[in-house]
Symmetry: none
Subunit: 147 residues, 2 copies
DNA sequence: TACGAAGTGGGAAATTGTGGGAAATAATAA
DNA sequence: TTATTATTTCCCACAATTTCCCACTTCGTA
């Protein structure tokens, strides 16, 4: 399971090294997509298959005939990237995704069960501050939601 | 799988290079057709076979009136072109398709699972802005679905 | 202290995207 | 028809980026 928070560097070549604790579970290739709240999601290939299958509702070969499917798929697939993990555990963040979260210098890499999130460090810090305050209510709410 | 977004140039000879990540999957020939929503669709030959079979299938569950179906098929088939990929990965956009999406200068090349879309860069940007508004709900759904 | 693992940086080589010229083909005019 | 011009195809060249590899540094541990 992917858990924990790490602060790493994104260098001038857009490389970020994955925390060593994550590497085994990640495998050789991962999928990176825009996520919620100014971050990026990283999925293992296995997880991605699950998620995309569930969400894209593999209707038929002609899903492009439906307007809502088109816009959904454009968002889902058009803005994702398949990325290899290099020999020493680093990934390359595509430009269009890097810009999206304004990643410069340091980024937060956060394991959340089956996925990883990448944040601009500052954004992550302020997000945490807010979340911290709401943690109790949030936990309460989540507790209720699971039943 | 064809995923991700790339911004390339369409030159004075109407040439556009396919992102190298797509080349293997595309093979040597592709089909390019007018697409829906101000873009062009590119299919692999394999995918095109599937699509065209489904479109021409008289028993298909498409809820088209006959007249609608005829005109849609004219649109899809009548204006499709088989295009070769040259030795360094470029394709030639036929004039009538180029004009259709008003491609000048820079174009967006977007991988969407089994097809590629080509957009005028500006049009793509504004399309994305709109989609962005729905992004949070979408990501929310994504997050929840990953358990 | 020595060692190995992890994170970071950078140089060299290979690849990719782009532009442009020459050859081949098509179109037009004389 | 031939001569001339335009268009398309093919090939090469360049620059920028990406990829690959090696090395340094830091940190924890034996």
């Amino acid at each position: 399971m992917l858990i924990g928070e790490y602060i790493h560097t994104i260098d001038e070549k857009n490389r970020v090294s994955m925390p060593s604790k994550f590497r085994k579970e990640l495998g050789k290739k991962i999928i990176i997509t825009p996520g919620l709240d100014q971050c990026l999601f990283i999925f293992t290939m296995k997880e991605w298959t699950k998620v995309s299958k569930r969400l894209s509702d593999s209707d038929s070969d002609l899903s492009f005939l439906k307007a809502d499917k088109r816009s959904f798929n454009r968002f889902m697939f058009g803005r994702a990237a398949e990325v290899e993990i290099d020999s020493i555990g680093r990934i390359l963040i595509p430009d269009f995704l890097k810009e999206r979260i304004k990643a410069v210098g340091r980024v937060a890499i956060v394991g959340i069960q089956d996925r990883i999130e990448i944040w601009n460090e500052k954004t992550w810090e302020s997000y945490k501050e807010v979340a911290e305050k709401q943690a109790d209510e949030l936990a309460e709410k989540l507790g209720n939601d699971t039943k």
